[in-house]
């Protein structure tokens, strides 16, 4: 079965190609085929997992050679699959959550005329993401990496008749290119210094790397990870990426694609282990982004953008854990899996709420939706408790482990990283509770369409209703995962033991503070965050228009001026550069060419006068020539 692992990728890829090639002829059944392909991919993946589970832990890293891909002299790259616990964890997450989101999309996209194309892109995304995680070399990983970037671009801009959405798609694409550049250069350095880009080759030779080279490769890989995972300083695209349909935000911009950066860092363990500086920078980036994302999530009134800030923040936790080295890898992946479930659940819940409210994303026009959307309320509540880390929900198990690990170490690092993780947990509790209370509790800040209230009422008229079963069922499944997954995966040595063949066995040293103290502090801070949010948004009336707010709030609403900084630092200088280049092109390059032509024409116009047609003037010229030639000969001889 392991040899057939390529089917996991091939099935959604074939389905996507079929739907795109058949065009409108497959409109009637396209969504069913795509969903079936995702489910089939999950089933094949599950069979592979079962077979790998049958192997002894040491044997669990399987390399499946597919074909010789780039045989170019010294650079010979084979396309192959790395089937090991790490990649299989991702395969399970991608295909399972992916299948659920396919099902959900059937309901969510019912009224969209381009539903078939949407499903074709979703399949394309699943296939590309599976290539990314199953690749056995950085080069093949890069193929998947670009593939998910393309699918993300196509899906963010799915409603590209809206200019803002098309611009958001382009922004995501361009910012991802910056990160991709880092990955390409890192691959170039690997080939230059190690002569190979395959995982096995790099892992075997990485210990021989000089520290500066390892640091350079590590930092470039981190740049790639930052671009894909929306980490500082390449985080600004994620908020705008919410322009895509909500299932896309759930699948690509919450559960799977944006976690690819974490995967890359864990996969490149051998490089990062040889480069402590790169590791430290990774942890710093993670710690900073987790606070930045959380602050942004607090400031937004748009439910999806608030969730996007939360995604940024949660991935910050994962990057922080991955930056702590082998002790954090397993927890980063653990949090990634649980986050994939509860965040997808939250996004799909938000999608249901939007669906019920005429596609409005403004939380200030929600309120009191619990009575009309009981299932969505219940699933959202479960995912909310999971993300803020209330025991025994999934987020508690995974996030608490990261916080504990962040407190491990010596010097200033455990205090800074651990402190950031703790504060992050409190802020997470605040903004998620704010979202939950603003949406489902308090007084309704909308009026039912059928009500007899006057037209001067400022509240929007809505007709909220519970979503159909095809949309609620996937969310219920995700919510079950959000309840149970943390407990299930930490049974025994659980996911840590399962990942051990990849991450290596590590002893977990004691944190600088006793574990019970950290645990209590976390729970107290979480409770404080929830209480604050309840006082502010649950008990009080939420104004329909946002108050001016403190400078911090205003900054958070504007993503801490990330767009302004990017525009000032990159966009405007870039525009000036291109304008200068265009000017130089027309003035210098074109000028030289047209100038040469004009000069030839002008000199021809002057010389043409000599050809006057008078035989006698020609004769005079001949005579003059003879006389001059004679005079020259005469003078030279003297």
């Amino acid at each position: 079965m392991i040899d057939l692992a390529w089917l996991v990728v091939a099935i959604p890829l074939a389905s996507s190609a079929l739907l795109l090639l058949l065009g409108r002829r497959s409109d009637a059944w396209g969504h069913l085929l795509a969903t079936l392909a995702a489910v089939a991919s999950f089933v094949v993946g599950l069979l592979v997992v079962l077979e790998v589970l049958g192997q002894s832990p040491e044997e669990r890293i399987n390399d499946v050679h597919l074909f010789s891909w780039i045989p170019a002299g010294e650079l010979s790259i084979d396309a192959g699959l790395r089937v090991d616990p790490l990649s299989l964890t991702f395969v399970m997450l991608i295909t399972f959550v992916g299948s659920l989101i396919h099902v959900y999309s059937i309901g969510y996209m019912t009224h969209d005329p381009a539903r078939r194309r949407f499903f074709a892109y979703l399949n394309l995304f699943v296939a590309a993401m599976l290539v990314l995680v199953l690749a056995d070399s950085y080069a093949l990983l890069f193929v998947g990496w670009e593939g998910v970037g393309l699918a993300s671009y196509l899906l963010i801009g799915f409603w590209n008749h809206n200019t803002d959405y098309a611009v958001a798609a382009k922004k995501a694409f361009v910012m991802n290119r910056v990160g991709d550049m880092g990955l390409i250069v890192a691959m170039g350095l690997m080939f230059a210094s190690l002569g190979t880009v395959s995982f096995s080759g790099v892992d075997a030779a990485a210990s021989g790397l000089s520290t500066p080279m390892a640091t350079a490769i590590g930092l470039l890989l981190l740049l790639g990870a930052c671009g894909k995972s929306a980490q500082f300083p390449l985080q600004a695209w994620l908020g705008d990426a919410m322009a895509g349909p909500t299932p896309v935000s759930a699948l690509i911009h919450a559960a799977t694609m944006v976690t690819a950066g974490v995967y890359l860092i864990v996969r490149a363990d051998s490089i990062f282990s040889a480069a402590p500086t790169a590791q430290l920078v990774t942890a710093c980036v993670g710690a900073f982004t987790l606070l930045l994302g959380a602050a942004i999530a607090c400031g937004k009134d748009d439910i999806k953008k608030s969730l996007a800030g939360s995604t940024m923040s949660q991935i910050g936790y994962m990057v922080l854990a991955a930056g702590l080295g082998p002790i954090g890898y397993a927890y980063a992946i653990f949090h990634l899996v649980t986050h994939g479930f509860f965040k997808a659940g939250l996004f799909l819940g938000a999608g249901s709420v939007m669906h019920a409210n005429g596609d409005s994303t403004d939380m200030r026009t929600y309120g009191g939706l619990r009575k009309v959307m009981l299932v969505t309320w219940a699933t959202f509540a479960v995912c909310w408790l999971a993300i803020i880390g209330v025991p025994p929900f999934a987020g508690f198990y995974s996030k608490d482990k990261i916080i504990e690990t962040a407190f491990v170490g010596e010097g200033w690092q455990p205090w800074v990283f651990g402190g950031a993780a703790l504060v992050g947990a409190a802020v997470t509790a605040f903004y998620m509770s704010r979202m939950f209370f603003m949406t489902f509790h308090g007084k309704a800040r909308w009026v039912d369409e059928a009500s007899k209230l006057g037209a001067d009422d400022p509240r929007p008229r809505r007709h909220p209703h519970e979503s159909p079963l095809v949309m609620t069922l996937p969310v219920v499944v995700l919510a079950i995962g959000a309840v149970s997954l943390g407990f299930l995966l930490s049974l025994g040595d659980g996911i840590t033991g399962w990942l051990e063949p990849v991450t290596g066995h590590v002893d977990h040293p004691e944190p600088v503070l006793p574990v019970p103290v950290i645990l209590t502090a976390t729970l107290v801070l979480v409770a404080a965050g929830v209480a604050l949010a309840w006082r502010q948004y649950g008990m009080n009336t939420v104004p329909l228009t946002a108050p001016a707010g403190s400078p911090l709030t205003r900054a958070a609403r504007r993503d801490f001026f990330a767009d302004d900084v990017n525009e000032a630092l990159a966009m405007r200088p870039g525009q000036h550069l291109t304008r200068t280049l265009v000017y130089a092109d027309t003035a210098v390059v074109d000028g030289a060419v047209t100038g040469a032509a004009a000069g030839t024409v002008a000199s021809g116009r002057v010389l043409r006068k000599l050809q006057n047609g008078y035989v006698r003037s020609y004769a005079a010229m001949i005579l003059a020539g003879v006389v001059i030639a004679g005079a020259v000969l005469h003078l030279v001889r003297l």
Binding site: R608, N612, G613, Y614, V615, R616, A619, L623
Partner: protein, 99 residues
């Protein structure tokens, strides 16, 4: 009579011929100027031949005469055909190929 006398006479004849070619518009006269230039050269050749006591210069003079005869034939034919076509023998008239 020294060599110099011949050469000076040859130079005077050549100049007269050249000036004729340059200033006269009539094709026949220009033609005669060319003949005068050729014959001034012949005079110089023969004079040198006599001074050196070899026949090379005289042989060359004969060659020039032969070529000049052939040239007269072709040249007069062209002048006649131009006259037939354009009713003029001015060398300035057929300047259609200018520019």
């Amino acid at each position: 009579m020294s060599l110099m006398h011949y050469l000076v006479l040859s130079g005077i004849l050549f100049t007269i011929g050249a000036v004729t070619v340059l200033v006269r518009r009539n094709a026949i006269l220009a033609f005669m100027g060319v003949e005068l230039m050729l014959n001034s050269c012949n005079l110089a050749l023969v004079a040198f031949s006599r001074v050196h006591g070899t026949l090379t210069g005289q042989v060359m003079a004969f060659y020039v005469m032969v070529v000049a005869a052939a040239e007269v034939v072709v040249g007069l034919a062209i002048i006649v055909s131009i006259y037939r076509a354009r009713r003029t023998v001015s060398v300035d008239e057929p300047s259609l190929l200018r520019n």
